[in-house]
Symmetry: C2
Subunit: 523 residues, 2 copies
Amino acid sequence: MVGSKGSNGPVKTAKVNIPSKSGDYDEWYRYMVQTAGLMDNRYPIRGMDVWLPYGMKARSLLDGLIRGEMERTDHDEVSLPTLVPDYLLDKESKLVSRLKHARELGVDGSELRLDEEEKGGGFSREVYWVRHAGETKLDLPLFLRPTSETAMYTMFKHWIRSHVDLPLKVFQIVNSFRYEKKQTRALLRVREIHFFESHTAHESEQGATTEIERYLETMSRLFSALKLPYLCTKRPAWDTFPGAWYTIAGDVVMPDGKTLQAASCHHYLDQWSREFEIKFLDDEGTQKFVHQTTFGMSERLLGAVVACHGDDRGLLLPPCVAPIQVVVIPIANGERQAAVKEKVHREARRVGQELKGAGIRCRVDDRNVNPGHKFFDWEIKGVPLRIEIGAKELANGSVTSWRRGTEKQAKQTFKVNNLVEAVNLELKEVSDEMGRASAKRLEESIKPLPSFRVEGEGLVFEQPIEKAVYETPFDGNEKMAEMLERGAGLKFLGYSMESYEQERACPFTGSLTCNRVILAKTY
Amino acid sequence: MVGSKGSNGPVKTAKVNIPSKSGDYDEWYRYMVQTAGLMDNRYPIRGMDVWLPYGMKARSLLDGLIRGEMERTDHDEVSLPTLVPDYLLDKESKLVSRLKHARELGVDGSELRLDEEEKGGGFSREVYWVRHAGETKLDLPLFLRPTSETAMYTMFKHWIRSHVDLPLKVFQIVNSFRYEKKQTRALLRVREIHFFESHTAHESEQGATTEIERYLETMSRLFSALKLPYLCTKRPAWDTFPGAWYTIAGDVVMPDGKTLQAASCHHYLDQWSREFEIKFLDDEGTQKFVHQTTFGMSERLLGAVVACHGDDRGLLLPPCVAPIQVVVIPIANGERQAAVKEKVHREARRVGQELKGAGIRCRVDDRNVNPGHKFFDWEIKGVPLRIEIGAKELANGSVTSWRRGTEKQAKQTFKVNNLVEAVNLELKEVSDEMGRASAKRLEESIKPLPSFRVEGEGLVFEQPIEKAVYETPFDGNEKMAEMLERGAGLKFLGYSMESYEQERACPFTGSLTCNRVILAKTY
């Protein structure tokens, strides 16, 4: 399973019946994650799985993409402790409750002070508590971070003195923990999360807003690199992250028609900084509170890659996160002459070295099993390109390449004297084809919400609501949104960042609006 | 402090009084770790500090060296959950108690069965417990891993079926947790540990022994790369890691004359595999238990780098882990003509680009502060090489380079047409000089144990014992070792892997032995 004899080695399955993606999607997903060697779900705690070598490589490549984006946007990497003192959770809970209460009353949150007993918002119901060490009861109870606002802002208070310290932009890639009560699922709903989070502080609301815009660009670049069909929406007020002014999330449209929140960013205004006393001296010597943002993602991105691109033959990994981009297979089992066999194997090794030398992640599979077995193993793992070298290729100075396509495999023959360029072009074509397929799927996934009429508190739709993503013009209030959610049996995902170009009538109010609201079943 | 405006940016101290390393070593160390921007100790949990951007970069570079070694020795990277079910700790405790008891009785541990109440060995007194999540009491109590034998071997049982699965060699770089009761100290004694651990399983005892030999080579390569003066000893039986047959550790000789255990590896025989039922079918179809090893290191390596190489001007980082290897400083403050100033700055940027292009980690410091201030800031951070460019250099087509030496700075002038080669040579010279200084310090640190005579249970030494590392021939028993420890007030570190070439007389038994025992005060 782990494949230590050759890291990320092939799975040790012979040909078996792979569950069908269209037939039993959940079983297919579970099978793929485990059999391709991404995660092992046999660890004895539910929702906490083991990253296997192949999964770790893919994760490291994804982390590398994220670090690259953080470098591009001038964020510094830090790492905070995993444990957080309990009083910070109280502080957060009070802030969140006050803001929620204020929203309901329609007043400014900073004016409200809540009684102790009213607290309990935020993460208090889903944190893991550490109250003992060895036989000792800790004086200061601790919890495992579910996210790091409270810990981070405790440090921000030390790090920020004046406007020359701003903007402060940091990120960390760490494990976070949530006591998930819903059904867990590898990479998609877990209790120990491989978590990316960035936190920024700015002089002004506008500074924070500009950072949010940069995060949307980063989100777009990452989802594009991974060829994921996604929608970007501003969450409605009642679904905004606790403590945030507003939340914008990236949701992947999954193969089962549901959406998966895979990234989100939050504009905090100065709401947290008031609670955590993060002040700076502006250039006129006035003390002010900073405005803040965060941006978060997790291994869900990898889960989405598995779910969206895989098929009944296995995974298909975008070359940018594929631990092995090219597998080279010598085909010489049928050769009677040992000398020819040896030459074929030597040529395969030479080709492997050449590709590695050019920075292509390549593996030569010279195991003593038949080629069909090898093809099967590497298809499960989603290697984008397979190169075969036999006696014929050897004689012609060529290789045969098979592109693992989104629909069918594409065969090509390349001369070895121009191999690196040809392979890079094929890898680019895999990416491009995946991108086109993803764009097409996204376009086909979104349907206009059928017309309906209101009957009492309920809605009667003219056509049945399917398991799909729906869009509709909307400028109604929270109560109307609730009716819509209940009536359609869908979640009010939010306001698309791509609003309608021309105004359309809201089906509730009848007034014209460019607001394009997305509704879907969600993970 | 964090320096977000330019990652790893200079510290924001003006000239201040740096504590003296020889005067107040502890205060000097504390000051350096914080002021150089490695760690921030103001997080509200003792022994759990924040990795600052500069510290994170150094840590990542060190992790990179370790990953390189793991790649070289065919280990695969995995990542196991942070939490471990409580029953695995019981299992470990029982194993450890049984082995300890067996050692005392001089019998084979696998024969002994202990009562429940006799357990309690291993890590049970220093683990953090998680017994609640939200308001829920967990059915399965969990603890934060102090190390991962128990979790890892639970998976090994799934991963190993037959001899073709062996050797199994994996590693992980994760956080581990120990409720440390001694005085904590950044990087050196912490409660959340940045932990490297590898675990292997082999068909035979000999396979495991060979792996231990490879680990000693890896240890040597890493300590050499970091230019750390270190000793490699086989721990005496009573100081062997719980559950191990034997333990070999690498101890750095620190500037205060004490030694710091910074790496250790353990030969487990089949002791753990019997407890965790890790069996394989050998090529004759017989079920056998695997033989196992582990190898562990932590951020202590970075703490040792700080302590060993820094001086009263700041850190000195070996180029291989220096986040910034070269700082380029334009010197044009005194220039009256704006045009000259601009040309000097442009040349500094060009030089910076050229060095970066050649893969050298380089920073151009064009802040509007005087050069002395800049020199001070980068010396604190331990940048190995400083390049100055002023009007004179500009006119001559040269740069002035200052090598941050172990004793004094070395000035050179280089022509810009051959800069990359010259800089690489200077960086190599920094490394080499650090290596020579380290070898010299090691040699000077080890003293022959003064002669003594036994009086009752005590020892009377002919010369006073200093705070130093001592060596002595020794072939005595455990009781004699205890007398030695108590009498000298030193720890019996273990048997040096470099034994004496010629036999010498053991001061207790008088018999001749090549055993070279190391005694020292330890961290």
